[in-house]
């Protein structure tokens, strides 16, 4: 088991390196001239040349890529922002907290709501609860996130004046961004839980449990649930990653000083180091999360665990069987 974990972690390294290369390459071919962007009005051919040399933009692609990689790997240095010359790493770390909070809280809350609701819908399949939940899911899935965000803002901030319209100077400010981010994972987890439960409930081993006289409550919560939740669990990492990526829209509308707004402004200002840094950073986090969910999945599901470690056990059993045969023969 430990070997498997180690192997997975080691595999992450080349993948992350590839992510850096891919992102850097994509941004390299983006049109726009950072040297020009920085100089702006004070452009003269000489200052332009000087700026280009200063930023290292005259070197060939491979050299730039190499420098970038080395800086990240050795010093964790994502370069300097073209706009304000501050270290990108500092800026990212500064802005990380709000995005993480909104992402983590919204995904956790969404699971807390979605799973019981999905279970209820599945166990009351065909009845009113099921129809309500399914219809709600379909309707909610159809609402685009930013429309909902603006509508909520107009309702709660303008008409009712309950919540601040922007910023996170006190914790009220987190409520609306979290509410807006909840709906995506909520709907998809709810539907997945429901369909997964429906599938599991029809399985033979559930019928067996019922036949054996296990209480309905135990059937659902002890036997069915654990199996049904596995696919939902594996999606957790993706939801978190999606929440961090989707934070751009929510943060823009509610002016949350997080990574999303940093990225949006950086794209607008063609501030490539910041864009690259943000994307790579978020990808790191998402890979890590997906790895952890995979491992959790392996830890939780004994079948997978066996598959991973069972190679050894199977061989031993086979050998034992063969030797028994040999003895018998």
């Amino acid at each position: 088991m430990a070997k498997y974990i180690l192997k997975r972690f080691l595999w992450m390294i080349p993948i992350l390196l590839c992510v850096i290369i891919v992102v850097f390459t994509v941004m390299y071919f983006t049109p726009g001239d950072p040297a020009m962007a920085i100089l702006g009005n004070s452009y003269t051919p000489e200052s332009y040349e000087a700026k280009v040399r200063e930023l290292g933009l005259d070197k060939p692609y491979i050299v730039q890529l190499g420098n970038y990689l080395i800086n990240i790997v050795t010093k964790f240095d994502f370069g300097k922002s073209y706009m304000n010359n501050r270290s990108v790493t500092t800026q990212i770390l500064e802005r990380l907290q709000p995005t993480l909070i909104i992402g983590a809280v919204s995904v956790l809350l969404s699971q807390l709501i979605a799973i019981p609701v999905g279970i209820t819908a599945a166990t009351h399949h065909g009845k009113i609860q099921d129809y309500t939940v399914s219809s709600l899911c379909i309707i909610l899935a159809a609402i685009p996130g930013f429309l909902l965000a603006v509508f909520l803002m107009l309702l709660f901030c303008l008409k009712l004046n309950w919540l601040p319209a922007a910023g996170i100077t006190n914790w009220y400010g987190y409520i609306l961004p979290i509410v807006c981010s909840i709906f995506g994972p909520l709907v998809s987890s709810c539907r997945m839980t429901r369909s997964s439960m429906l599938e599991v409930i029809r399985k033979d081993y559930i019928r067996t449990a019922r036949a054996k006289g296990v209480s309905e409550h135990d059937v659902i919560h002890k036997h069915a649930l654990k199996n049904a939740l596995i696919p939902v669990l594996t999606m957790l990492g993706m939801h978190l990653g999606g929440a961090m990526g989707g934070s751009i829209l929510v943060e823009t509308i509610f002016t949350v000083p997080g990574l999303g707004i940093l990225m949006k402004n950086a794209i607008y200002n063609l501030d490539y180091p910041v864009v690259e840094g943000c994307v790579i950073f978020v990808s790191f986090i998402m890979s890590l999360l997906m790895l952890l969910t995979d491992l959790a999945y392996a830890a939780v599901d004994p079948r997978v665990r066996d598959q991973i470690t069972g190679g050894g056990k199977k061989k031993r059993r086979k050998k034992a069987a063969q030797s028994m045969e040999g003895i018998a023969a």
């Binding site: 941004m27 603006v150 107009l154 029809r202 829209l249």
Partner: protein, 333 residues
Amino acid sequence: MTDMKTKKSSHQGGHGHHDKNSPESKALKKTNGKHPGNNHPFDPERRHGKRRRKHSQWGDVWFRLRKNKLAVIGMVLASVLILLAVFAPILTPYSQETQDIQNQFQMPSWEHPLGTDNFGRDLLTRVLYGGRTSLLVAFMALMFSVFVAIILGAIAGYYGGMLEMVIMRMTDVIQSIPPVLLAVVVSAALGSGVWQTAIAVGIAGVAPNMRLIRGQILAVRGEEYVEAAVAIGSSNIAVMFKQILPNVLSPLIVSASMGIGGNITAISGLSFIGLGVRPPISEWGNIMTSGLEYIRRFWPMAVFPGIMIMLTLFAFNCFGDGLRDALDPKLKH
């Protein structure tokens, strides 16, 4: 008695005279002379005596789909939207570019059913043409995803080995980047425009579809009909396309129909940030983005495209759900 019955039954098959009212003959009538071995008491399709001439797979799917009310609504709605998009130029007398700035922000009226936008252009026209663009880009992105996914998935699933490993690792890399960010970065790199946005949005959809196809191919690879095809000497590609792919299509179709909704949301989201399809080309997302600025003085400009997006998502989601249930009946029954 038993002997008599047996004797009688031995006269079946149309040889000689038989009792019309015997249970056997009644059964025969029901099966229209076919061999009684075809009568399956436990076949739900035949329990009430219905019969099928053609036992086609797609026919079954269609039948189940029709029974699902929500899916039908979705299908009808989606068709209506597509028709509106296709026939947009005929449906409206206005051009989407004619400006009349002094008449900006007119509320809905007979002349302008949805009102006018900030340039005085008829909003209904803009929304119709916008639908054209949105749906077109969404479908293009889908085509791109599916096309690339099929190629990559087929290669990975069928050939295996080093090629498969490389493709799978590349997919891991791409999937490590959150899909929204991936679309944003690619869109920033390619610039704004219809096909650029289609590619940017489509790229994020390649990975899951590719894994789907590869998984299906791996599952199906060992089947007999594949071995048979290889045995009679079909080339690898012919085997892939003729034997394997038709069978892996159903989950792909489901994924595709659900994917349209996601694509439209992504396209609108890109417009919101300032990438994607830019004005003056109208697209629901960028009409909505401009409209949000004016939302307090003129709500129609933000609301109506939003409603269209919602309807489209609703339609394709219902349809996709229904399709998935129809293709995999075990779940419902």
